[in-house]
Structures are given as C-alpha cells and as structure tokens.
Symmetry: C2
Subunit: 273 residues, 2 copies
Amino acid sequence: MAFTERLRAAWTTSSSLVCVGLDPDPSRFPTAVGRDAGAIEAFCRTIVDATGDLVCAFKPQIAYFAAHGAESALERICEHIRRNHPQVVLILDAKRGDIGDTAEMYAREAFDRYGADAVTVNPWLGTDSLEPFFARRDRGVFVLCRTSNHGSAELQAVRDASGDALYETVARRAATDWAKRASVGLVVGATQPDELRRVREIVGDLPLLVPGVGAQGGSAAEVVRHGATRDGTGLVVNSSRAVLYASSGDDYANAARRAVLELREELNAASRR
Amino acid sequence: MAFTERLRAAWTTSSSLVCVGLDPDPSRFPTAVGRDAGAIEAFCRTIVDATGDLVCAFKPQIAYFAAHGAESALERICEHIRRNHPQVVLILDAKRGDIGDTAEMYAREAFDRYGADAVTVNPWLGTDSLEPFFARRDRGVFVLCRTSNHGSAELQAVRDASGDALYETVARRAATDWAKRASVGLVVGATQPDELRRVREIVGDLPLLVPGVGAQGGSAAEVVRHGATRDGTGLVVNSSRAVLYASSGDDYANAARRAVLELREELNAASRR
C-alpha cells in the first residue's frame, strides 16, 4: 500500500490526528525506568504500547538515539511498532539533506534499515537531493516547509522578486512537481497559523506534519482550523515532550495515554466545529 | 586549540589544501578488502594511513556508515584519525539541521560521540537551529551555502527584494553575526566558480569547504583562483571517490596516495601562480 493510503487508513482506524514523537532523553526518564543502556528502548516501547491505539503515527527523532549511540535500540523500536502496531504510520524524523549517492544512503538508512513508512527531509539542496527519497514510491517524504522555531523566518520567509515567500515556493513545488512522483507531504509548524493556512491553500489535500503544539506553544484548535482538509484530516499533529514526560512518576505510561487522549479529543472537537 | 587555529596548523604542517572524504561504499571496494562487517573500517583505516601526511582534513560522510549500520566502525575510524593523525582536522559531514534540544543532540553526536573537530550543518531552519553547534567554542561549524549539485540553485540562488541571492545572505550572516560567536566556515561547491568568488569576497578569510572537484567536474585550479585567501590557504578541498576508488586492485592504497599527491600539487601549483 502506498504511503498516502496507509496514512488515510491510519486516520480512520485511530480516529486520531495525533502523532507521538519519540524523543527519548534519559535525563528526563522516570526513576523507575533508569538510565542504563536498555532504558531508552524500554521507555519508548512502554510509551508506544500505551498510546498505539490512539495515534495515527509514531515519529522517532533519530538525533536522540544517535547522541546516545542507540541506533540498535531504534531499530528494535521501529520493528516493535511495525509488528505490534501495524496500523500506525512510522515516520523517521531525520531531516536529511544531501546529494546524489549520499542522499541514496540516507534513503536506505530511513527506509531499509529502520523500515520507516516516511521520512522528514530538508529542501535547501534542491529537488535533485530529494530524488532518492521520491524514488521509493511506496514510502512518504515530508519536506521541511515552515518550521516551528523563531529563527525559521530567516530563510523560509524571504520573499523573491515576485513576492512569494520561499516556504510558499516549496509548497507550490510540492503540490505540482513533487506530488506527481512521490507521496509527498510538508512540515509546517503549529506556531505559524497564518503560514499553515497559506500552505493548505497551496497544496490542496497533501498531508501536513505539524510539530509545535504543547511545549512549543502552538494551539491544537488553531492547527485544525487553519490546516485540516475539508474532511477534517490531512494533519499529522506531533506531540513529544508533553506526552513522553507527562509524569515523572511510575504512572508515566498512563499519564502519556491521558495526554494523547486529551490532544486527540481537542483536535477532534475542533475538527467537528 | 580553537578550530580555526587547528585548521591553520593543519594547512602549514601538511602543505596541503586537500581533504579526503571517507564515503565508504562496499560495492566499490577492491576484492582484497572484501565486503564483510569489518571491511568498512579496514578500508577507511588503510586510506587514512596512506594519505594522512598529505592532507589537512579527513571528512567522513556519516550517511555511508548509517546506511550499513556501521556507527561503531565510524567511532573507531574517528578515534584512529585523532590518535594517529592528530595534526589532521576531522570534519564530520552530517549536514544536520534541527531545532532546540534536537540540534543539541546532533551537536553531541558530532562532537562528543565522534569527537569531530568540525561538522557540516544546514541553515534552512535559521540561526537558532545552529546555536547548539556554535556553543562549542573550540569546534568548527561549516554551513551549507552553495552546494555543488545542479539543483542547488532552486533555493540557494533565489534573489530577495534587494537583489541578494540567498547564498549571499548566508555568507553575509556567517561573516558578521556567526563568525563573532563561533569558528564558522561555509560549504561552497567547486562546480560554481563565480559563486565561490562571490562568497570569498563576502566572507574575508573564513574557511571554505569545497566539494565537487574530480568526479563532479569542478576544476582544482579554478577553486584556488576563485576561493583562496591572499596567503593561498582558506580552502579545504574535498575529494572522495577519485581518491578512495583510484584503483580497484590490490594497489588501492598506493593509488589513493598518488591521487592525493596529484591533487595537492595541482592546488599548490595554482596557489603559487
């Protein structure tokens, strides 16, 4: 099944736009989890199993594994998700961007080694740098369009001679050229509601991966209002810290589940309005 | 010693602007090296030891290791370089770009886990995404400015309302704001000689990491003519495939050495003119 169909099925099955971001930081783990070599894997598996029926996607952030030399834990977590939560889409948040053979190696890393359904990539190097990802026709590619951090305007919001902001140029290219050849989506931060609406205008029904609700200050209701498609989907709304660290006690799995339930309901309520 | 001084010392000691890129592709290894688990490490160590006295830098490309699950081999290769070729600068080519805590994790990956002297990063997410790298005052940060691939113009060469191309904006920010706070350099492809000259005009003596000579078609003499500083340095000129795969026979180490010697001489001859 191609990525777009998998994602659509995941929205339906879970009745959820929520994506849980797996950004494991051992310094924030509950005491019971510990901080030894196996803690990252155990913590992520617990979070995954506590929330798997409530989400459309899981999004491991590879940097958190790489900083700790925990790639094999990430491999096993990805396998666990694919095996035990096959209805949930697996997005590797890697933000890769390189050229030619090197980009091909990154595509292998995401799709073959970790078995991700989709990967996040950086468009700064141009369309040819994205081709090795696009070539995997059954997988998805989320391109960084307008990110949630305050410095994102420096390049992404620069206007060209015709008055278009660069993030609009990226969105337009995604909707036309790229979408013809690949299951492409865009990353647009929840902290930029006007830009989110603008991107949705440009890209029609393409899926948008939206970080920045919760800890970063974006509003879930605003995200739905500005970013949802007409059928109330089209969004993969990520929450990481607010879920993973909802409690620092032994009840962290239940607390994570409650945090996801709340966010799901908040998004669904906004979607019904 | 801060990165800029380390690099200056490396140029002097080696009389070389050459950087050897470590992009190990087992499918291209000489038969004698084999393709088993240890082959990547053995191949890279041989190349490193055959060329270590002739180069100012080694640049492992992390994607080639990640695609093969060979992070521990990369750790050992980096340690081998630091221990046995301490005068050579170690640049991790990772092209990372992310925000906040995630960017901090990538800084740990490059500088703590692999012990790199410098890392390549992507500026698309803005200055705040680069801060965790800048904060490591003794390390270097090479920001992608104008890359060597044909699609690089799509975003990097877009002109803003005042007529500046985005790569010029990146170069200007590097030379002013960023250089005050970090040992910053830029990545500029050898395939764009005019842009290389333009960047050099903007950034004064900042170091430029230049991929794209050899296999990608850039001219070494042109790179020096357009990119060198007045003292004939300022450049880290990368060659990967032309060195690593100079021979597919048992003489691959000698062939790699000869390829580096030739490139070094070509660059030095152009620098003397």
